[in-house]
Amino acid sequence: MYRGKNIQELREELDKKETIPEELFDKANRLAHYFQDDYNSFVTIIDKFKYKDRDSKLNGIPYALKDNFSTSGILTTASSNILKDYVPVYDATVFKKLKSAGAVLVGKTVLDELAMGGTGTTGHTGIVRNPWDKERMIGGSSAGSASAVALGIVPFSIGSDTGDSVRKPASHGGLVGFKPTYGRISRYGLFAFASSLDHVAMFTRNVMDCAIVTDVLKGKDINDMTTLNDDGKCYVDLVDKDIKGKKLFYIKEICGKDTYKDVDDKELRETITKFHEMLDKLREEGFIIEEVSMDKALLEAIYPTYMCISCAEATSNNSNLTGIQFGPRGEGNSVEEIMFDARTKGFSELIKRRFILGSYILQRENQEKLFLNAGRVRRMIVDKMNEFFKEYDGMIAPCSGGPASKFDSTSEKLSDRYLILENHLAIGNFGGFPSITLPFAMINDLPVGVNITGRVREDDLVLNMANYVEKVTGLKDIYSKVGDIDV
């Protein structure tokens, strides 16, 4: 059996010569095709085995890559019509590193168009479904990368996380989703959504696998000025360190025991109850966990702040999509007309609305009130977090108010009641903090994730603490066993 095996198990089988990389690739390829119609994880499924033997923990391991990473010679669409035929001429640093580690690309995964969305429903090739329940979303924007791992097609996949685009779908898919410190992994070749918030991130089915993948991807890159110097650490070696005495905090206004006591939502209350039950078990393991309080106005400002900054940067970042140098050419008699035509046809309505909003935020007359104030709130939130981090090693919180939503339950979760709980993960992007999601409870047979966010540059400690949470929850290497296929 291949399906559902994690990186370490496949590594062992490969090392013992019980299987070979090509066999793993064939199985992943069969699974990818098998689930494609029902779940739509992929924009492109690779059918030709391409691999070079390397000395690395990922040598011969199949994986999936979000379709907003530049892959030379392989279609890269960002799930948008404006790039529907775009075949890049260069490799993203992440792709290059995975290739030279001997990892085998199985496919390019569906995202919300241009990574701007959190539902997995806006890609140009259709909606992505949640492997745990087809009627539910997996969340986005790294929807296909999440579903490919949650279906057991690949043991890991790469995504990008600008607000919670890996850590939220990880929660809905029962996966580990890790976004290391800003600059730990190069963004060169990742199609920019909001450059000051964008992070390369990954999905696995256990914390150790995350450490393995991060060890391969991290490092200074001459093509990305924002990358950190190498920290010289091997995260795999540090995952199991003793955590006794490590201090975590949770913010009362996000997930206090009584914060939602008047709310009529069974799933939400069960989530909060189970979260606190877990905290008690973590305390027994040696964690010190305390409640802190934060200005509610600041917390409520997270979402609008995120919208302001991300839409503004996105409007500018996507100004290169004009159909002149690449992408489908528009029609018209002047350069303006062909740009206009290409962009009018190439972007969906939602994307256009985001761009207009972003542009409005940057306009001279609004910039102070909207864009610069958002930057100020961002700093206040990050400063507050850093204040907490002086005393605590990390923040812990549920990733959302319950399992994934159904496709038809549209805007309910955007209501004021959920404003903080559904959007707090963006704090990790504001400050570039290392932040990890892992499953902590099953509610109505659907997974719900918990998040740990730590100090900048302390990726190893965040993985270390998450590893202990995983031991306590016992929710490790889970995936949806849906489907009648035996590989």
Partner: protein, 479 residues
């Protein structure tokens, strides 16, 4: 009559090995699209990587132009759509330019005019467009080339001042070695903003903008034409329209488009280039490398050295010539002779051989040694010049040549007479013996001395004749 108010925005391509935000080569080439990196093409996923040398040269220029320097280097995005701008934004500096509030003193018709600078910022050039009757072609070689923009305040009042400023500014670039500033390659381009106002007006008149003028004489033509055009409009009581105009080959300007409303470029800080500090170490390093500029040398030559304005202009025009000249002086060579030799034989040699002064065989030390021989009357001007040519020809130190071959015969009567007079002044007793005692052996004595002092270069017959004449003259005078 109206008061003319002109502001200039000069774009200058910096000379670096690689581009401003990518590591593609920065070089002018005829071949299309051969110097293009992913960044310069604005491909999805690219990130700009700022060039240290471009930043250094930008700061260096700001310092030379007396600007306030920033405490850190950051960039901003200027967002607009155009065929030559592949990213859809230009990386430039808006929040913290490399220079603020500088100035350049310019000599205009013999007077010093201080042109004040609003700011200097470092940015990137666009791709270039070639236009054909039915289509245009884009070449990305120029995309991302480091570009320095120097913006003056509206303080220039005539075409003369504008052109003098541009010429002096170009010499600053050349002096600093930051750019070749060749306007025929578009390495130095100028936008002109011009408005007219009555002497009694307190507010500036309506501004007309002319973009991307390469040649300085076109700047002059455009300004002169606009002054005439706008004056005529105002005389007739008509209004000047705020617009962008272009200069055509006939020397007239034509309207391109009216400015409806100011474009909003939606500037914001470029998030992919983290701030880097401008350290005190860097500032003092740049300061120590800063040369005295053309204008300052020109004034120094005139005021301190009392050199003619013409010679001061010639000597200060090019930094390498001025440096050469000053080095010759530093070895103690006579000032007037140094001016004479550098402005005549040295410069004409450079012209004749079509070489730069750095390639010239004669070093400042060699020239100063030769000049010293002339000052000591051991060598005539003519002989010295011949000696220099011979030294270049044989690639041999002129002093070595003198030692080896002697200095050739001195036939120049002036030179010989000067030498003879100085020898007689040192031997007044021998002169007295001739004048008072009629001791004829004095003549032979002075011939011998003259031969000795001139390293046997003096023509003995001419010397003997000159000595006899001089002794007779002194005898007459003594009566």
């Amino acid at each position: 009559m109206y008061k003319v108010v002109i502001g200039l925005e000069v774009h200058c391509e910096l000379e670096t090995k690689s581009k401003n935000f990518s590591s593609a080569p920065n070089e002018f080439t005829e071949a299309h699209n051969i110097n293009v990196a992913t960044v310069d093409l604005g491909l999805p996923g690219i990130l700009p990587i700022a060039n240290k040398e471009a930043v250094r040269k930008a700061l260096y220029t700001s310092m030379a132009l007396h600007c306030d320097l920033p405490d850190e280097i950051i960039f901003d995005r200027k967002n607009y759509y155009y065929a030559d701008l592949p990213k859809g934004y230009q990386i430039t500096q808006n929040t913290k330019p490399v220079g603020l509030n500088g100035y350049l003193d310019v000599i205009v018709n013999g007077k010093v005019k201080r042109v004040t600078l609003h700011d200097i910022h470092l940015e990137e050039d666009t791709a270039s467009l070639e236009h054909y009757p039915k289509y245009s072609l884009i070449d990305y070689n120029r995309s991302g080339v480091p570009l320095l923009e120097i913006v003056t305040n509206p303080c220039i009042e005539s075409a003369d001042e504008a052109v003098a400023y541009l010429e002096d500014l170009r010499d600053v670039f050349l002096y600093l070695g930051v750019s070749e500033a060749k306007s025929n390659y578009g390495q130095m381009r100028c936008d002109v903003n011009i408005s007219l106002m009555k002497d009694t007006d307190t507010e500036l008149g309506t501004k007309v903008e002319m973009k991307n003028i390469n040649a300085f004489n076109n700047v002059r033509a455009a300004i002169e034409y606009e002054i005439k055009r706008q004056s005529e409009l105002l005389d007739k009581g008509e209004k000047v329209i705020q617009e962008t105009r272009r200069i055509a080959e006939d020397g007239k300007t034509y309207s391109m488009r009216e400015k409806v409303d100011a474009v909003d470029y939606k500037y914001f800080v470029e998030p992919n280039i983290p701030s880097t500090p401008v350290t005190n170490e860097l500032i003092s390093e740049l300061k120590s490398e800063l040369p005295m500029l053309k204008g300052d040398r020109y004034l120094r030559y005139i005021e301190e050295f009392k050199i003619s304005e013409y010679d001061a202009g010639v000597l200060s025009k090019t930094r390498s010539i001025a440096d050469y000249f000053e080095e010759v002086l530093s070895y103690g060579a006579d000032l007037n002779l140094s001016v004479n030799f550098v402005t005549t034989s040295i410069l004409s040699t450079l012209n004749k051989l079509e070489i730069s002064i750095d390639e010239l065989f004669i070093t400042p030390k060699m020239l100063s040694d030769v000049i010293k021989l002339v000052s000591e009357n051991k060598l005539s001007m003519d002989a010295a010049k011949k000696l220099l040519y011979e030294a270049i020809d044989k690639k041999t130190d002129p002093i070595e040549l003198v030692k080896k071959e002697g200095m050739g015969q001195i036939n120049d009567e002036d030179t010989l007479l000067k030498l003879i007079q100085s020898i007689m002044d040192e031997n007044l007793e021998v002169v007295r013996q001739y004048v008072e005692d009629g001791n004829m052996s004095a003549v032979n004595f002075f011939v011998g001395q003259t031969m000795k002092k001139s390293n046997r270069q003096a023509n003995p017959n001419i010397s003997r004749e000159l000595i006899s004449k001089e002794l007779e003259r002194r005898k007459e005078n003594a009566k």
